[in-house]
């Protein structure tokens, strides 16, 4: 039994390293021999299939990811933290349990279903409401991703609020603070690092999401000028193009380099979340 647990623990670590090693080694020839670092990171031109003028700039893709993720967070942070606060502080008993289960069910909706909602519901709605030429854009992807990130944020944030000792609530209320003041002035500061971790995990979730953004954001590789512009994210690019490249080709390797970039990005976000949580428990 002990052996089985150890083995599964080590294999999990092994697989993480193996995956990173595979991605990195596939991309390494491209990264170290063919790629122009400056172009890769600063050029918005991604023309991997052009015959005369191949370009491997990821700036537009990065801008796509950042804009969709940023908009998603504008939606997810207030919704996620707000519902965590509501569930933790303003409900009890059956209502509380019911809401928690509902939120967890939301987390279980497959991302392709969210993408489908983006395509079939949001797309015509955005065209209608904003008079946009196309409804598959930053706004659509941001809303869908935002809603997708709400459950994980709510769950983690609710845990963080629950971890605040009841004695803080009692002391604050007994001093004549209202429940809102208590939440705002005592609970939020006390749970600050846990709430930040919740937000960062939501960000990580949004950056790494592929299927829903692939379906909801359109496909134009460009730095968006407005939320109604169509964009392409890092993940969507990999998903859309990898199947059509020959293994070992420059394009194929370039997509793996995009994968490395994505990996570093999500790794950075998760590491930040982790350090924050650790910082809290160390105190």
């Amino acid at each position: 039994m002990e052996f089985a647990i150890k083995a599964s623990g080590f294999s999990a670590i092994f697989f993480v390293f193996a995956i990173f090693f595979f991605v990195f080694s596939t991309a390494s020839e491209f990264i170290f021999e063919k790629m122009d670092f400056v172009e890769f990171l600063t050029s918005p031109e991604w023309y991997p299939t052009s015959l005369s003028n191949k370009r491997y700039g990821t700036l537009a893709l990065l801008a796509g990811t950042v804009s969709v993720t940023g908009l998603a967070m504008l939606i997810a942070v207030p919704l996620g933290l707000g519902s965590a606060l509501f569930i933790s502080e303003f409900t009890s008993g059956v209502v509380k349990e019911g809401l928690k289960i509902t939120i967890e069910l939301l987390a279980a909706i497959p991302s392709v279903v969210w993408g489908f909602i983006g395509l079939a519901v949001m797309n015509p709605l955005i065209i209608e409401v904003f008079d946009a030429p196309i409804g598959l854009n930053v706004l659509n992807g941001g809303i869908i991703l935002g809603l997708m990130s709400v459950p994980i944020m709510t769950t983690i944030a609710e845990d963080a609020l629950k971890a605040v000792p009841d004695s803080y609530r009692e002391a604050s209320l007994a001093l004549g603070a209202t429940r809102w003041q208590t939440a705002h002035k005592v609970l939020f500061p006390a749970a600050r690092s846990g709430l930040l971790a919740a937000v960062l995990l939501g960000v990580g979730r949004a950056i790494g999401e592929t299927m829903a953004v692939l379906m909801a954001t359109g496909h134009a590789v460009q730095i968006p000028g407005s939320p109604l512009d169509s964009v392409r994210t890092l993940t969507a690019t990999i998903a859309a193009e990898l199947g059509e490249t020959a293994a070992g080709s420059d394009h194929y390797q370039a997509l793996f380099a995009v994968g490395v970039l994505l990996f570093l990005l999500t790794f950075g976000v998760n590491l930040a979340a982790d350090l924050i949580v650790r910082g809290r428990s160390a105190r």
């Binding site: 009890s92 008993g93 000792p165 004695s167 803080y168 609530r169 009692e170 002391a171 604050s172 209320l173 007994a174 001093l175 004549g176 603070a177 209202t178 003041q181 002035k185 005592v186 500061p189 006390a190």
Partner: protein, 254 residues
């Protein structure tokens, strides 16, 4: 001492937690400007009584309350906003709860939540309350330290300072000395005697001798019922109205 009506009037107060009785038909007055001690073994309902006075009992979903509590002649149930009631009653808990903020912010928390923004008023409040709680000399250079950095005894005095910040008419303390060293306990007892000049004080204590030292009158609770309340001269004599009071005070049970 102008008005003769009691500061707190508890009448037929009963509390159940999920059907389990904690207070049973309790009737008890707290006179203006007295120190009333409430003694009794663990689980006799002392904390529950305090929670009914400032309506913190409502924050416990399983609790159901019947009977009335009046503060200064007004039924506490009639406050539309319980915050307004709680601002009139300072409350000190058994274990010091430094809110996760600085000493200064701890003491000014209640006034700030009540809408006070004037920095000079807040500065004065900090000085007054920390002096009243005999903490000023020890922390006057540490006002911007986290409250939780203070020693246990200092933290308990900080919570007393905090409880005084809105100039309450009533101060309730729930077994305040449970986590405090004897020297600090004595300091706090001196503080309470001074505060008593213009404040009504209810001290819940598990220390019979503390009740004897500190209070004018003492009430004994037993399993949610009032056994006896009376002047300390009576409660701590052989002439108690109820034999159980004598036994409890003598340490024969509990």
């Amino acid at each position: 001492m102008v008005s003769a009506s009691p500061m707190i009037e508890v009448e037929n107060l009963s509390v159940n937690y999920a059907g389990k009785p904690a207070l049973d038909q309790l009737t008890l007055d707290v006179r203006r400007n007295e120190i009333l001690a409430v003694i009794g073994p663990a689980n006799s309902g002392k904390t529950t009584l305090l929670n009914c006075i400032n309506r913190m009992i409502e924050t416990i979903p399983s609790a159901s309350v019947s009977g009335t509590v009046k503060v200064d002649g007004h039924n506490v149930a009639e406050y539309r906003d319980p915050s307004l009631l709680r601002r009139r009653i300072g409350m000190v808990f058994p274990l010091p709860v430094g809110l996760p903020m600085t000493v200064y912010e701890n003491v000014t928390f209640a006034p700030r939540m009540a809408g006070e923004k004037d920095r000079t008023v807040l500065d004065e409040t900090v000085q007054r309350c920390l002096k009243q709680s005999a903490l000023w000399d020890e922390v006057k250079d540490r006002l911007d330290d986290l409250g939780t950095r203070l020693s246990g005894g200092q933290q308990q005095r900080l919570t007393i300072a905090r409880a005084l910040s809105l100039n309450p008419e009533i101060l309730c303390l729930d077994e305040f000395s449970i986590a405090v060293d004897p020297v600090t306990t004595m300091k706090i007892e001196e503080v309470l005697k001074e505060l008593n000049e213009n404040m009504t004080i209810v001290v819940v204590t598990n220390l019979v001798l503390q009740a004897k030292r500190l209070a004018h009158r003492t009430a004994l609770l037993l399993r949610g019922k009032l056994v006896e309340v009376g002047d300390n001269e009576v409660i701590f004599s052989r002439q108690t109205a109820d034999a159980r009071t004598f036994q409890y005070v003598q340490g024969l049970f509990g």
